[in-house]
Amino acid sequence: MSTQTLIARGTTFEVCWIVLLMISVLATLNHIMLPLYGDPVALGIGWTGFSLYATVVIAIPFRRREKWAWYISWILVVGFAYPILIIRESYTVAYLIAAGLMAVSLLLTGPAFFRKEM
């Protein structure tokens, strides 16, 4: 494999990792604010906790290219896409877009986790 290809793959991974990290950090900040929007405190606490765990997984083991971190990160995609099925409100569209971005990022980072060792 050429050096250029390896560099391009490394850059793709870095960009996608930053996208995933930014979405999870922004989601954490947004979920902290849920009680201020009038949502129940329990909902805010729960979703903030979930977003924080997801952020840590993306920040540390995902960056280390641990396979389990890649697999479990798909739960973010499911979790962000699911609300549109049960709630008819505009914010669920934003969650769906975030889910789409995360799915693309995960697909693009896949080769970095499953590439055969040279």
């Binding site: 405190v41 329990a42 729960g46 979930f50 765990y53 840590v56 389990w68 479990i72 049960i86």
Partner: protein, 159 residues
């Protein structure tokens, strides 16, 4: 590895099991809430507003639907958090990685917030909802197990 296992105390050896069980319980409860919504645990609603889900449905269908949706979202969050906790406990936490130990302190913090929240939303004269007691139990257990397994995760040679 064998020597390391011998040196580990009970809490260091079993901490990952506690968090795995906690994660699995969250998955189960989350799936229940997602499937049945507010009807899954009527005691929560009784504690918060003093009436059962079926009474609320008869009185105000709009509010019932809104609260049902919120409970389903809480269920989704429970399920996903349970999955994350389970997988972290089976991998990084079990291996003794320091970041996982620090991350799991969030569980204790989250439980304490949940307990305080359940206490605050209770209507005067109503009993406390089951999540108050389960949250309190797991807050104590997680704090105890994390505190007493610190040597495994804060040792210099780890990570």
């Amino acid at each position: 590895m064998a020597t390391q296992s011998k040196q580990e105390n009970f809490f260091e050896r079993s901490a990952w099991v506690l968090f795995l069980v906690l994660g699995l319980i969250e998955i189960l409860f989350g799936a229940g809430d997602m499937a049945v919504g507010i009807e899954n645990d009527p005691a929560i609603l009784v504690s918060a507003i003093g009436i059962t889900p079926s009474e609320l449905k008869a009185q105000d269908l709009l509010i019932y639907n809104a609260m049902d949706q919120q409970q389903k979202l809480i269920g989704l969050e429970f399920l996903m958090t349970g999955a994350l906790i389970s997988i972290i406990s089976l991998t990084a936490f079990r291996r003794g990685e320091r970041w996982a130990w620090f991350t799991f302190w969030l569980i204790a913090v989250e439980m304490i917030f949940g307990v305080v929240s359940q206490y605050n939303i209770r209507q005067p004269g109503e009993s406390l909802a089951p999540p108050f007691y389960s949250g309190l139990l797991f807050a104590v257990l997680t704090t105890l197990w994390l505190a007493l397994s610190y040597r495994k995760y804060l040792a210099r040679d780890v990570e």
